[in-house]
C-alpha cells in the first residue's frame, strides 16, 4: 500500500507542489521571524555585555515604582564616589552621565534616529570600564568639544574638526568635533545617536550638576562581585542601591526583548494568517485529487484495502508534502531573516553583525507547523477518500454532487454563531487572542455556508458575461453549477480580502475619528512636537512665550506614576494655559485646583479607581516615592489630556524629566493667523528638530501616519492574497483535468480554442469576484465590529472607504483573469480525440 501511495504522489508532483507552495511561504515567514528575533536578541545580549564589560557593580538611585528599567532614578551625588573608592576591593569607580543631546547636521536639520533615543553621555578614556572607543581624533576636553558616534557622523557627513550645533536640555550650543567614537565594534548603539562630552561638561549640560546618573565600579582581581556589592551597599545612603552588572545587562536586554517580542508577535500573526489561507488550499487540492482518484481508490477498496488503509495513504501523501514544504520553508526563512535585517538597516537601525542564531525551537516549530497544517487540512479529504464505495470502480461518470447540503448548513451556522460569539466577547473584554480566534472561526463558518449563496450570486455576476456569447454562458454555467467547488476555490481569497477590507475600514474610521477628536478636544491653534514625538528642550516653550502675539503656551511633560492602585502615564502642564489649549469638560471639581498642587483625573481613570473629588490619593513616583495628592477635578474623556494631569510644578518636583513631549499654543485673539504663524516659525527657528502644525496640518499628519501603517499591514496581508490566487490557479487546473472529456466534446462539436480559453477565464473571474464580494462583506462587518469595540479608545466614527473597497474588487477581477491564463492554455491545447476518449 505504501508503494502505491508514494507512486501516486510522484505522479501528481506538480499539483501537489503548487499546494505545498502555500505552506512553504507560511513556514518561511514563521522561521524567518523566529530566526531574526533570536539573532537580534543574542546581538543585544552581546552588545549590552560589551558595554558593561569591566564593570562588576553599578550604583544608582532606587526606582520606587519597581517597574523594570523605566528610568527616573534619583541621581547619585558626587560625594558617594569618594566613599565608594574607600571600600576594599574596588579597583576603579567612575561616574556616568546620561541625558538628552541631539546633533544638528551641516544641512541645518537635526540628525534623525528613526525612533531610537538621542543620548548625551560622558567619555572617560582613561577608565577601564569605558565602552566608547575613539575611532579617529581624540576624546573631547573642556567646554567646547564633543565626540560623536560614527553612525551619526556618517549620516550627517561630519568629520573631526567640524563645528556642530548640539541641541540640549537648555539652550543649544556650538562645539568642535574632537573625535569620532564607536560602541564596542559597532558604529552606534542600535541606532541611538551618542554625543560624548568631557565628564564635568556632561554633568552640567546633560545630567544634573554635582551628580551622576550612576557610578560604575570595577572590582579588583579575585574579588567576588556579589561580595563587593554588599560592601558598597553598606556605605551608601538610603535611596540608592548597588546592583550587579549582570542584572543591569539583563534589565537592558529585557527591555529590548520586549520590543522585539511585539515585533515578532506581529509578524507571526501575519504568518499564521498565511498558513490559515494555505490550509484552505491544501484542503481544496486534496479534495479534488481524491475526487479524481475515485476509481483508483474504489479499485483499492474492491481489492480489499480497508478504510483505514485508504485514509492513511492520503494522509501519508499530506505528510510528505508537508515535510518537504516545511524543510523548504525553513531554508527560505533564513533568506527572509536576512532580508528583514537588511530592511531594518535601510531604516537606519544599524545592528552589529553577529552570527545568525537558529534555535532548535525554530527548526522544530517550522517542521511541526508545516506538517501539522498540511495534515489537518487533508484530514477531511482523507476521510472522504475512505468512504468511496468499491463499486465505483465500475462506474463510468464522476461522483454526483448529491451529498446533503443540509448537514453543511447546520455546521456552518453553528461555526458562524460560535465565531461571532467569541469575537464579540473578545472585543468587549479586550482579549486579542479571542478576537483572532473568533474571527477565524467566523471565516470558517462563512466559508462553510458559502455554497448556499454561491449559486445566486455567481449567477448574477456571470450574467453580463453570459450576454456576450456562448463562451461566457458556458463559463458562467460552470461556476454556477458546482457551488461547492466555487465556494471552496473562492474561500481562500475571501479570507485574505476580508482582512484587507477590515483593515481598510478600520483605517478609514480612524482617520475620520481623528478629525472628530481634534475638533472635540483640541482648542489650540498650533501643536509643536518632534517628528517622532521624542522629548525636546523646554527652551522651545521659552522662545514661544517670548513672542508677542502668542497668547497661551502649554508645555506638556510625559511621565509615569502609580496613581492609587494602578500605574498610568501622566502629564505635567501649566494650569493656566491648559484650559486655553484643550477643550476640557469638567465633570466634577475645578481644574484650577491644578494650580494648587492637586491632581486631575479623567472620568474613566477616576471611576476605575473608585475615587471622588476631595479624596487624597497616594501617588507613587519612581524618584520620590509615595506622595499624597488631593484629587481636585475630574474631566470628561479627552484624547489630548490623557488620564492623569498635574501641574508643571508638581511634575518637576517629583521627576527629573525636564524635557517636553508636546507643546500646544494659541495665538492672541484678533491677530491674523498668518502673522501668528510667522511668530511661531521664528521662535522655533533655532530648533530644527521641531515640527509646527496647525489643526489641519496635524490632522493630515496623523492621517498620513495611519495610511503608512495601513499600507504596511496591507502589504503583509498581500502574502495571503497571493496564496489565495495560487489556490484559484490550482483549482482551475485540476478542474480542467477533471472535465477533460467534457472539454473534448465541446471542441469536437465546434467550440474554438479562443472561446474555450474565454470560457475558463470567465469562470475564473466570476469565482474571484465572488470571493472578493464575500470577503468585502465579511471584512466590512468585522471592521465595523472593531470600530464599535474601540469606541472607548477614541475611534468614534465609522467610515467606509468605498474607493479602496471598489479597488479591491477590481484587483480581484484582474487576479481572476491572470489566474486563468495557464489552465486556459492547457485546456485549449487538448487533443480532441484523446480528450473525448479519456477516462
Amino acid at each position: 500500500m505504501l508503494r502505491a501511495t508514494l507512486r501516486s504522489l510522484l505522479a501528481r508532483k506538480l499539483r501537489l507542489a503548487l499546494s505545498g507552495l502555500a505552506v512553504v511561504l507560511g513556514v518561511s515567514f514563521v522561521s524567518g521571524t523566529l530566526i531574526l528575533t533570536d539573532t537580534l536578541g543574542r546581538v543585544f545580549d552581546d552588545l549590552f555585555a560589551t558595554v558593561n564589560a569591566g564593570t562588576s557593580v553599578s550604583v544608582r538611585g532606587v526606582n520606587a515604582l519597581g517597574e523594570g528599567a523605566t528610568e527616573d532614578r534619583e541621581p547619585v551625588p558626587e560625594e558617594a564616589l569618594a566613599r565608594i573608592l574607600s571600600v576594599e576591593g574596588v579597583a576603579e569607580a567612575v561616574g556616568r552621565v546620561s541625558g538628552y543631546a541631539q546633533v544638528v547636521g551641516p544641512d541645518g536639520k537635526a540628525v534623525a534616529t528613526g525612533g531610537a533615543p538621542s543620548l548625551g553621555v560622558e567619555i572617560n578614556p582613561d577608565s577601564s570600564q569605558e565602552a566608547l572607543v575613539v575611532k579617529s581624533g581624540e576624546a573631547p576636553q573642556g567646554e567646547g568639544e564633543v565626540a560623536i558616534d560614527a553612525g551619526t557622523a556618517d549620516k550627517a557627513g561630519i568629520e573631526v574638526g567640524d563645528r556642530v550645533t548640539v541641541l540640549l536640555r537648555g539652550p543649544a550650543r556650538e562645539f568642535t568635533v574632537s573625535g569620532i567614537v564607536g560602541f564596542g565594534t559597532t558604529d552606534n548603539l542600535a541606532g541611538a545617536s551618542l554625543t560624548a562630552f568631557d565628564l564635568p561638561v556632561a554633568q552640567r549640560l546633560v545630567g544634573v550638576p554635582g551628580t551622576f546618573a550612576e557610578i560604575a565600579v570595577a572590582a579588583e582581581e579575585g574579588v567576588d562581585g556579589a561580595e563587593l556589592g554588599r560592601r558598597i551597599s553598606a556605605v551608601l545612603p538610603d535611596g540608592y542601591e548597588a546592583v550587579q552588572a549582570d542584572q543591569i545587562v539583563a534589565e537592558a536586554s529585557a527591555e529590548v526583548k520586549q520590543g522585539l517580542g511585539f515585533f515578532s508577535t506581529a509578524l507571526l500573526v501575519f504568518a499564521a494568517i498565511s498558513l490559515f489561507v494555505g490550509a484552505f488550499l491544501i484542503f481544496n487540492t486534496f479534495s479534488m485529487l481524491v475526487a479524481q482518484r475515485t476509481r483508483e481508490l474504489a479499485l483499492l477498496r474492491a481489492l480489499g484495502a480497508s478504510r483505514r488503509q485508504v485514509t492513511t495513504s492520503v494522509l501519508i501523501e499530506a505528510l510528505v508534502v508537508g515535510l518537504l514544504a516545511s524543510v523548504t520553508g525553513f531554508a527560505l526563512g533564513l533568506g527572509v531573516a536576512v532580508g528583514l535585517r537588511g530592511l531594518l538597516g535601510v531604516l537606519g537601525i544599524d545592528l552589529p553583525s553577529g552570527e545568525t542564531v537558529v534555535a532548535t525551537r525554530t527548526v522544530i516549530a517550522s517542521l511541526v507547523i508545516g506538517v501539522g497544517v498540511t495534515c489537518v487540512a487533508a484530514l477531511v479529504p482523507a476521510r472522504r477518500a475512505a468512504r468511496v464505495a468499491p463499486i465505483e470502480a465500475l462506474r463510468e461518470s464522476g461522483p454526483a454532487e448529491d451529498r446533503s447540503l443540509a448537514r453543511r448548513g447546520v455546521t456552518g451556522a453553528l461555526l458562524l454563531a460560535a465565531g461571532v460569539g467569541v469575537l464579540a466577547y473578545g472585543l468587549s473584554d479586550g482579549t486579542l487572542p479571542l478576537v483572532g480566534l473568533g474571527a477565524l472561526t467566523s471565516f470558517l463558518g462563512v466559508a462553510t455556508l458559502s455554497p448556499f449563496v454561491a449559486r445566486p450570486v455567481t449567477g448574477l455576476l456571470g450574467a453580463p458575461f453570459a450576454r456576450l456569447g456562448v463562451a461566457g454562458r458556458l463559463g458562467r454555467g460552470n461556476a454556477v453549477r458546482s457551488p461547492r467547488r466555487t465556494s471552496a476555490t473562492a474561500a481562500a481569497l475571501m479570507i485574505g480580502l476580508a482582512l484587507v477590507s477590515a483593515v481598510s475600514v478600520l483605517g478609514a474610521s480612524l482617520k475620520t475619528s481623528v478629525v472628530a477628536v481634534v475638533d472635540r478636544s483640541l482648542g489650540a491653534d498650533y501643536v509643536l512636537h518632534t517628528e517622532t514625538f521624542s522629548p525636546f528642550s523646554n527652551e522651545v516653550a521659552t522662545a514661544l512665550r517670548a513672542q508677542p502675539d502668542i497668547d497661551a503656551v502649554a508645555a506638556f511633560r510625559f511621565g509615569t506614576a502609580k496613581v492609587g492602585a494602578d500605574v498610568s502615564s501622566l502629564q505635567g502642564v501649566e494650569p493656566d494655559a491648559l484650559q486655553q489649549v484643550l477643550r476640557l469638560d469638567t465633570v466634577a471639581g475645578d481644574l484650577d485646583a491644578l494650580g494648587r498642587g492637586q491632581l486631575a483625573l479623567s472620568e474613566d481613570a477616576a471611576r476605575s479607581r473608585g475615587l471622588e473629588v476631595g479624596e487624597t490619593v497616594p501617588v507613587t513616583w519612581s524618584r520620590t516615592g509615595e506622595q499624597p495628592l488631593v484629587l481636585g477635578a475630574i474631566y470628561a474623556a479627552n484624547e489630548f489630556a490623557g488620564e492623569v494631569l498635574v501641574s508643571d510644578a508638581v511634575f518637576d518636583a517629583n521627576t527629573s524629566e525636564q524635557l517636553l513631549g508636546v507643546i500646544a499654543a494659541t495665538g492672541r485673539d484678533g491677530v491674523v493667523p498668518a502673522q501668528v504663524r510667522q511668530m511661531v516659525d521664528r521662535a522655533v527657528a533655532g530648533f530644527p528638530n521641531i515640527v509646527v502644525e496647525d489643526q489641519a496640518e496635524f490632522i493630515d499628519a496623523q492621517g498620513a501616519q495611519i495610511d503608512q501603517l495601513l499600507n504596511a499591514i496591507t502589504v503583509l496581508l498581500v502574502l495571503s492574497v497571493v496564496i489565495a490566487v495560487l489556490g484559484i490557479i490550482n483549482t482551475l487546473a485540476l478542474s480542467v483535468v477533471e472535465r477533460t472529456r467534457e472539454l473534448g466534446l465541446l471542441r469536437a462539436v465546434g467550440l474554438q480554442r479562443r472561446q474555450l480559453r474565454r470560457m475558463i477565464r470567465v469562470e475564473s473571474v466570476v469565482i474571484a469576484v465572488y470571493g472578493a464580494l464575500l470577503g468585502l462583506a465579511v471584512g466590512t462587518a468585522f471592521g465595523w465590529a472593531l470600530v464599535r469595540a474601540l469606541r472607548a479608545e477614541g475611534i468614534t466614527e465609522f467610515s467606509l472607504p468605498v474607493g479602496r473597497l471598489a479597488l479591491i474588487v477590481v484587483v480581484a477581477a484582474l487576479a481572476g483573469v491572470l489566474a486563468a491564463a495557464l489552465p486556459a492554455r492547457r485546456a485549449a491545447r487538448l487533443d480532441v480525440l484523446e480528450a473525448v476518449a479519456a477516462t
Binding site: 500500500m1 507512486r7 501516486s8 479499485l299 483499492l300 481489492l303 480489499g304 470502480a393
Partner: protein
Amino acid sequence: MSASAVRAVDVRKSYGKGSTAVTAVAGVTMEVTSGEFAAVMGPSGSGKSTLMHCLAGLDTVDSGEIWVGDTALAGLGDKKLTALRRDRVGFVFQQYNLLPTLTAKENILLPLDIAGTKPDELWFDEVVTAVGLADRLGHRPAELSGGQQQRVACARALVTRPAVVFADEPTGNLDSHSGAEVLSFLRRCSQEFGQTVVMVTHDPTAAAYSSRVVFLSDGLLVDEMAKPTAQAVLDRMKAFEPAAAPAPAPRTGA
C-alpha cells in the same frame, strides 16, 4: 455443502425510490460449485452485473442470502467484507483494472501488499507463466496492450488463490484475438488449477468457453445450459428479443 464455491438464495436488489424505483434482481437462487467456470448471461437490463456485484460483496442485497464458501455475506461489517474481498475473492473488470502508477508485477501483487503477506514465489511464477507475461513484469499499464492489461488483471485475481474469481465482461474492450487469449486462460484456471470462475458476459462466443451458462432476464433466472456452444447460446439469446417466442417457465437452479 462445502463443494459450493458461491451461492445465492432468493436474492433481491432494487435501486432508487418511489416512482423511480428499478428492480435489478427480483429473486435469484443459484449455486456455483467449486472448480466450475460459470457464465451469467442476459440482455442489457437483465440484472446480471448487479447479481455479480452482490455475489462478490461489492454491493449489498435488499433481501436473500449470499454465501462465499462457508461464509455468509449478510451481516458482515465493512471491515470483514473488505477482508473477504482481499483474501477470498478475485476480480477482473471490463476496464480500469490496474493502478496506472504501478508496474505489472506490482499490480499483480497488490492484494498481498495490502494484506501485508509475503507472496508465494512459486505460485507467482506459475501464474505469471500461465498468463504469458513473464517478460512484461516491469512495464506500466500504459506500456501494455489491452489484452496484456487484462491478463495482468487475471494474474492478480489468481495470486491470492481465492475461493472464486469474478469477471465482469472481461473481453468487452478487447479484439477477438486478445479476448480469446483471456478466455482460454480463464478456462485453464478452472480446468487445471481447479479455480472457480464466474463470468458475466453478453457475448455468446465468450460464454462458449464456460462449462455452464445461466440466463437472466428481467431480474430472474430463466434458463440454464450445460456444455454451451456459441451457436446454441446465440439461439437462446435470440429468444429474449421482444418479437420472439415467449420465454419458457422460469426454473430455479439446483
